[in-house]
Symmetry: D2
Subunit: 352 residues, 4 copies
């Protein structure tokens, strides 16, 4: 059994890591940290986990407390900009790192200044981190020591858009319009997440300056293309708890038909373990974030307006699973040579 530490284990992503790792046959959680719940049992933060992880108690996060637990791998589920020093220290001690924050996702140190407002203290390490999106980076992930797990809005947008870019099918600006549930905002209450304010909401957010995930999306899509890809992202809070949907609008380069576009998706995702292609004409119910909740699946479909020569690609995922904890475990599985779906081989839950 691989020994696993989870730093930042009292948040929603932390809770999902604990839920998934409980079902993982090769991993054992030996450490969980939480400032707020230090000294308390797991179910104080995660009442649904009552009865699970009985021996475990939250600890105050420190490099020492992690190392004392002697983990093989540490998952970092901390806020952006927090715990930047942990990866280098852990790597030095021979502990692999899966970082679920944005701290090591971007290759260009400059981007941290613009999008996150800090100077990255370990610019060299950025190039060594592997962006943990298996559908794009599976080969690099094998044996990886430092995995930078993607953001949920970035994941759903990249998955929706990648075959358009890889196939060279579209021209000009991509417009990515993302809608996401309230769990994306994390476990800390705020005015905007107060139930009477959030339930029933349909609202854009970060409309000034743009959405941070844009940097990841452009970085990864550009890597797939011969040219720099520009994406205009808008993010919206809607009245779900779980789930994120990306609608990627683009203009078709050569007015290719549906079959050509569909073939690009089938070729890229046909054999992917966690991507499910939803043919828009052959399935009665279409695509909905509801159909992936609780699972690591991402469902993908496309709509084509032939007369207008434009395509809209859609991807739907569970923001806490394929958008966070599940994808992190998937990348961890690849890195350590486990079955890619170890701990993740379960159907979505519906209706919920």
């Amino acid at each position: 059994m691989v020994r696993v530490a989870v730093a930042g284990a009292s948040g929603y992503t932390g809770g999902e890591l604990l839920r998934i790792l409980y079902m993982h046959g090769e991993a054992e959680v030996v450490y969980a940290s939480s400032r707020e719940y230090a000294g308390k049992p797991i179910h104080f933060a995660h009442p649904h986990l009552r009865g699970f992880y009985r021996g475990l108690v939250f600890q105050n996060l420190s490099i020492d407390s992690i190392l004392k637990a002697d983990p093989d791998v540490t998952f970092l589920a901390l806020p952006h900009g927090v715990g930047l020093d942990l990866p280098p220290s852990l790597l030095e001690s021979g502990v692999r790192v899966v970082d679920l924050s944005a701290n090591y996702r971007l290759k260009d140190p400059e981007s941290y200044r613009r999008w996150y407002g800090f100077e990255h203290p370990y610019p060299d390490l950025l190039s060594k981190a592997v962006y943990g999106l298996p559908e794009l980076r599976r080969d690099e992930l094998r044996g990886a020591k430092l995995i930078a797990s993607p953001g949920c809005n970035a994941t759903v947008t990249i998955i929706a858009a990648a075959p358009l870019v890889v196939g060279g099918l579209v021209d000009g600006l991509l417009v990515a319009d993302v809608k996401a549930g309230s769990s994306e905002g994390g476990a800390q209450p705020s005015r905007g997440s107060h139930h009477p304010e959030r339930e029933g909401a349909i609202r854009p957010y970060s409309i000034i300056g743009g959405h941070r995930h844009q940097a990841e999306v452009e970085q990864e899509l550009s890597r797939l293309s011969s040219s720099t890809i520009r994406v205009s992202m808008a993010a919206h809070a809607v009245s779900s708890v779980r789930g994120a949907l990306a609608s990627v609008h683009a203009v078709l380069k050569d007015r290719v038909g549906f079959d050509v576009v569909w073939r690009s998706y089938a070729s890229m995702y046909g054999k992917e373990r966690f991507v499910r292609l939803v043919h828009p004409r052959l399935t009665p119910r279409g695509l909905d974030v509801k159909y992936v909740v609780g699972s690591n699946y991402v469902d993908v479909t496309i709509g084509l307006d032939d007369s207008a020569g434009r395509v809209t690609a859609f991807a739907a995922l569970d923001n806490l699973v394929k958008g966070a904890a599940g994808q992190a475990v998937q990348a961890f599985n690849i890195a350590l040579g486990f079955r890619e779906d170890e701990g993740l081989d379960m159907p979505p839950i519906h209706p919920v």
Copy 2:
């Protein structure tokens, strides 16, 4: 008091017409039709209206039953393609018509073939109908005999986009990404609207072939511009009951700054009775469909990504009020020379 008939009064739009007309000081509802509830009191279809309209009973819809009630104006809240004969017959009898269906919205008879699948039987009447969007057509509405009240997704998109088009600020395709609540689908149950399937949903619909409201949007925006405006619309069902939000993405023609774009909005909407401009930097809470629920207001804001030279304009409204019944009453008020906000002068309800 003006005598008002409501055909199709048992649906959600019909219910909202009854609610609003109850508060209207110049109108009196003398007729309400419903096939399903014929012979039954109003509260059988609208339990919230228990105690209101005590004398009224639903009638089976027919031109004779309407005329017998001797109305001055008839609101038609019928499904698209139903009751196409009513407007000419009513007009002939001297009864004004406010048609809330799509039946008389499009100027080009051809469009009915493409988008609604029927041959329009009264193509000549199409040119006489006034598209009932007061912010665009106030002058034509004065004294109008036949008002074609706009669709909710069309209204919210046009309101968001119009100042970009009027100002000549943008180039190329407009992308309109609309998110709407479940009441938009009407009062008839279906699999897709079944609560366990709809609650928590984030799903695109009509992804093949496009959204019908696109025709209205292109018609009206093109009229504001010197050139033909093309709009790529995608509609999404989200987990609200009321409300529709349009996010209109566009590329700025001359990389103009925020002030120029804002000025175009202020110039077009600054004095509008039911448009509220939400300055993205000067207001703490931004824009949300929640802030207009129950009212005839449409809130509008914009986001600008200077570096990318693109703008996203947002509009939020209550799909059953400004998106349907409220806007119909607003247009009716203008047509008959009442105060524009008669029956509509009330704040939104929040939180709800």
Copy 3:
């Protein structure tokens, strides 16, 4: 026009007071206080009220600032235990008070120790305050100087149970099981009201020691009866934003039939302006909090299990209107001799 001050105007009850008073033909809001939003316009706290109350700015609450605004009446929408000194000071200055907190609801000073944990500083004033439930205390309300407006869970329980008690129809303990939406908890965010935690919730609260509204309920029901009425209350948070439903379970004294019980309800509520009786057999849709949202109505019905000799009475209201701001305005109308439904004569909004 009567000059009205609203203390605690940035909360949800305050917001509803502002919404309702806007539609009130005899009252004018001349003052609104808020610690958090002092110096800010109304729409900073209530974005739905953008465009309303343009001249008004929140002030820091003090007796001086209120008196300077020279109000005839002051509504206090403050937390329990806050502003206890305001009523005596205001009354002394000739300003009538409608207190929406629990501060002056209970007649027995002892009860404040037990249920609210403080010594009431003005025990003499308690006997002068009129409990503002018009259906029980209309006569006392006429001309009242100090109105203690009831709690929402108390209102809905008392309305459901009163005819059982007045008619002497039931024996033994009344069980009141209340279910309420999230807006009941007020505008301050907390872990329990965080959207991912609250949406979909069905949970009891205050299960240790009982619900505070029990004191009001027992006080008011006992007054209607020749004996002391004991009520066992349990309150539950459910996944609505607005609305509270009370299910009052009781054992019938003499195994009387449905007609006898119904007659007691009809006799008590048949002429009430804001109580709507829903006959369980004659109406197709029954009773639901959804049918009263946005309005001052309370809907009432009963279920009878003849074989078991028990009755369950149900009442449904909007917790922020009939459960708070609307009922306060209704009592204010009676006190000042206005039409009882002034500012409140509008239908509920449905669906929302």
Copy 4:
């Protein structure tokens, strides 16, 4: 591997059986029936199961089609009153039956006349069926051939109330007030389940004549007691998708204190695999249906009002898992001698 057939596999309970059995190491689904989806792949009815059960196609239900699939066990997830003939035929052919309908739950044939309106055709078989609530009937379940799986509202009420009855702690009528989510009503759309009507709802149902589950509850609780137990049940639809909560109100016989009552719960449930006791004073977050969603757990707590001498017991479960499919698999595991948690050993999902 045990070969399993699922009749009525396209409903919500059927879908949950398929989800759970996928994770079951000892069972293999060899047959799934659905009238509506006959001939179609599983994901046509259950879009979340896309990619699972690829070889399986829905069949038209008949005894022949089941037997042709040669199952060892058949789960019947059919509506009440449908398929009454299947259990005797299947048993005769040596196929065990787990019936999730009410068809074989009641021991007294008379009860079927009163509560379900039909004459039971196999009264003798009623006495042979084992009521599949493991916490009460584990011993009888071992080796059982015909299991009548309990209703969700019955399960949650019995679990909440049983220790009060077993301990002989309470007197007189038990009042059971149940609140449940919309998935309880099944997959067929109706006016009441239409999203705009159901979202935000708080409404009682079956208020005339009582809730059918009352018969099961009284049968099972009376069996635990020396006397006949009477339960007054009221059921409410609230605005969740999943989950049911029972609040059982009772008067304490001897004014025993908290510890005595708690001991009865601990003694009955302390070692139960799927009951989690939530101490009302020692846990920060209490009990909520949200904490059991997706799992077979039922959480239980109690509240005591010492001064009033009354107790309220609460139980929360996922109506489709512990209230239906999960409990059926749990009973099946016991009957066949598998680990009781086979296929069910997974944490709840939260937040969702």
